[in-house]
């Protein structure tokens, strides 16, 4: 019960939702340590904090997914004890998760009707579609009720999530990191929708770790660090990124990474007119050509689902294609992942737990994944256990992989440690080319920093790096050149030092990079704390 009383405009209304002294612990972690939070009607209240600060835990308690160990939740002044998400929804509380909770094989309207009590038995697809269209128009959420979810872009899926909550009559909307997957222009549209909602008297909790964005959209800001509130209800007007950053991470953030000057060597990765289909058999790459040179980091900026994942798979031999990809002058396309590995292609896949590691195999086994075919780890058709363990041991120490032992199953590692394991393994192969996909997604600030340093170090050693990231900040911080992808094509290429964010944002969403920038642009980019 240590709520700071910040300087803020006096508010007399009963809060729409209020948390008082909430405590929630998980095995080994105190996720929420006496957290207080209040949301006034008609406001946008941002909850700021890095990954693992406890923001999502608090929101999941609000949404009825978790139950707090101590403390109280009040909805419009009344104590609430949600037993399930259904109770929270009934109380007018809608949550839009960071990972959408949509059923891909069902239509927009089926998804919106999911879990409701009416109609009780028979579904009436046409009747509900009209109401969905009406709501969509009111809050400027363009989406076709009959489309299947898997056909929609990420931005459209987010609109469906919001519509779903509005359809349920949600008066309070909780948005968990809503901009993480959006391009700058889509962020702008989202903000317009959120403002339309507050105008209509509804309130929004906006969870984020992006400082500028929070200042741009929120009325008030609450900052969390390691399960505790470090600032409660600061007025957003007047807050500065530097101040917020300090509250969020407990120290000043580094301005930019020190890096060696850009001195590119020979072309190591070359792709020419690459075309490929996605898992659904639809064209994902429509003639991509790009080069990455030794000692160069090329960042691919794109909104999720525009072919960047397929591009990484084509280069690493995981996906067949038309066209040609060469690494170090030799063809790797349409061969096999094993072939690409032998050509010196290392790969940090987007899915760390499902693809980048074998969850039930030991740390040691995971560390030799790319080495087990070659001497000295292999000895003829056998694996030399002693050498394998020695290699694993040295990598574990060198890259500070925190694991109880080499025999610990990989699934028990934290996200940051697992990613260090994967990077250690890939860098140890001394690759000519590293394809890194979303290398820091979901990691905390400290882990992100180590990973970034490792990538820059690899660049300094003359490797070519293709960085696929949904985080424009990350690309700006690391890349030497930025290629923008949209619908399977590279639609623009920029020198990172002189790149124009507005232009990149427009190109990412299919706009024409040469046209006038929009007037009410929101500066969603920019390195953390760089101002």
């Amino acid at each position: 019960m240590t709520a700071a009383t910040p300087a803020q405009p006096a508010r007399t209304a009963t809060p729409a939702i209020e948390a008082v002294g909430v405590v929630k612990s998980f095995p080994g972690v105190l996720a929420n340590d006496h957290v207080d939070f209040d949301l006034q009607p008609g406001e946008i209240h941002a909850l700021l904090g890095e990954n693992g600060a406890g923001k999502s835990t608090l929101m999941n308690i609000f949404a009825g997914l978790y139950r707090q160990d101590e403390g109280e939740i009040r909805i419009e002044g009344r104590s609430a004890a949600f037993r399930s998400p259904r109770d929270a929804i009934a109380a007018g509380l809608g949550m839009v998760h960071q990972h959408f909770t949509l059923v891909p094989s069902q239509t927009v309207s089926e998804n919106i009707l999911l879990g409701l009590d009416r109609p009780r038995f028979l579904l009436d697809p046409h009747g509900s579609e009209d109401e969905i269209r009406r709501l969509a128009a009111q809050f400027r959420l363009q989406v076709d009720p009959r489309a299947k979810i898997w056909q929609l872009s990420v931005g459209e899926q987010q609109r469906v999530e919001i519509l779903k909550m509005l359809y349920r009559g949600a008066r309070i909307l909780i948005m968990d990191e809503p901009t993480a997957v959006l391009a700058p222009q889509e962020v702008e549209e989202l903000f317009r929708t959120l403002r339309a909602m507050t105008t209509a008297g509804r309130s929004v909790v906006f969870i984020s770790h992006k400082l500028k964005e929070v200042i741009a959209i929120a009325d008030r800001i609450t900052v969390m660090r390691r399960g505790r509130v470090t600032a409660a209800g600061l007025p957003a007007a007047g807050a500065t990124p530097v101040e917020l950053a300090r509250l969020m991470v407990g120290r000043d953030l580094l301005e930019v990474y020190e890096r060696t000057p850009f001195a590119p060597g020979e072309v190591l990765l070359s792709a020419r007119d690459v075309e490929a289909d996605n898992d659904r058999g639809l064209p994902a790459l429509r003639g991509v050509s790009l080069d990455v040179r030794a000692g160069e980091i090329v960042g691919i900026a794109a909104v999720a689902g525009n072919g960047q994942a397929e591009l990484a798979q084509v280069i690493t031999g995981l996906r067949p294609c038309r066209g040609i990809v060469t690494v170090g002058g030799r063809r790797t396309s349409n061969l096999s992942p094993g072939h690409a590995i032998r050509q010196g292609v290392a790969h940090v896949p987007e899915d760390r737990t499902g693809e980048g590691s074998a969850p039930n195999l030991s740390v040691a086994d995971n560390l030799i994944m790319k080495r087990f075919r070659e001497a000295p780890v292999s000895r003829g058709w056998l694996i030399n256990g002693a050498v394998a363990r020695a290699l694993a041991e040295s990598l574990k120490d060198e890259y500070a992989i925190a694991a109880p032992s080499l025999d610990t199953p990989a699934r028990l590692l934290s996200g940051g440690n697992l990613q260090r394991l994967i990077l250690a393994r890939e860098i140890e192969t001394n690759p000519a080319l590293l394809v890194a996909c979303q290398p820091t997604r979901g990691l905390d600030v400290w882990a992100i920093e180590t990973i970034h340093r490792l990538l820059l170090e690899l660049r300094q050693h003359g490797a070519a790096i293709l960085l696929v990231s949904g985080d424009l900040d990350e690309i700006l911080a690391l890349a030497d050149r930025i290629d923008v992808m949209y619908e399977g094509r590279i639609v623009g290429s920029f020198d990172a030092r002189t790149a124009d964010l507005q232009k990149i944002g427009l190109l990412m969403t299919g706009g024409d990079g040469g046209s006038e920038p929009p007037t009410a642009a929101v500066d969603a980019g920019g390195t953390l704390g760089s101002s």
Partner: protein, 361 residues
Amino acid sequence: MTIRLEPRVQPPGWLSAAITFAAVGVALVISGVIIAVVGGDPVRSYIHILNAAFGSIGVLSDTLVKATPLLLTGLACALAFRMRLWNIGAEGQFLLGAWGASAVVLAPILPPGTPGFIVIPTMMLAGAAAGGIWGLIPGVLRARLGVNEIITTLMLNYVALFWVQFWVFGPWSEGGFQQTAAFPPEAFLPRLTDFASSVPAFDGLTVQLGLVFGLVAAGIVWLFLERSRWGYEIRLAGDSQRAARYAGVDIARNVIVVFAISGALAGLAGMSEVSGVVHRLQDRISPGYGFTAIIIAYLARFDPFKVIVASVLFGALILAGREIQPSGVPAMIQGIILFSLIVAEVFVRYRVRIERSVAAA
């Protein structure tokens, strides 16, 4: 009140063994209750099983005879399951192996009078090849066309059964009986009792060379799985197909190879049974060895050496179970043991917490 499962960070080594034994114990108690319900006497049944399986050196030898096909088919299953390939077809592969080995002397592939040191290896090869091909079919269908291997292996079991029946009732039938003519002695695997003239203590002991095949196979399978590059690929693919593909493992090829080897092991079991025990091909040559093998592989947690122990236990159950009434009891006990093992697995992997719900307000 809620039940929560929390993953154990490092399950202690003894825990797994202790829980496995407890599971088998619980299964026997439950089975006992059911036997009592249908009017049997569980205590007498179990004592009977113990006596009939381990009571003397003679019956112990019989138990080992029953354990031999279980050992080889159990290894076949353990290998496939390690890659998470559900080869439920060891039964059919066993039958094909028995048929292939029989063909060597019945077709005949080798002329009568060929010496044993040629006949036996040829039979082993033919049995393993026939079983291997029978395993190859679901393997190729799975690897190339993505066809669910559970269904195909099961269906091929039935096909194999009719295939053997055709030969036993038809072309190879001896005087219209449901069996073929007996093999010539060159086609017999040596038994201990065959050496009774020099070692009198071996008299009547029917343990045969097939057991040695099984023990050697267990060692080889262990070496490959735990110590070889190929075994590493199998374990990787068994844990995560996508991670294996990412690490450059050719999944399709490994699926086919594992299925072929698995089938060959089961086929070798069939060879050992016709050549070492029955000395002819006949209908109902297997009382479901290939299915019991699934439980054995699971009980052994896919560890080749533990498969040896488990197959002896189930060999005892099958041997002694023949005389237990009602006749379904051994099958029932097997089912209950498998269920308890699955539940036991949960206790190894998770710490089970039962908590009174903490009131939120």
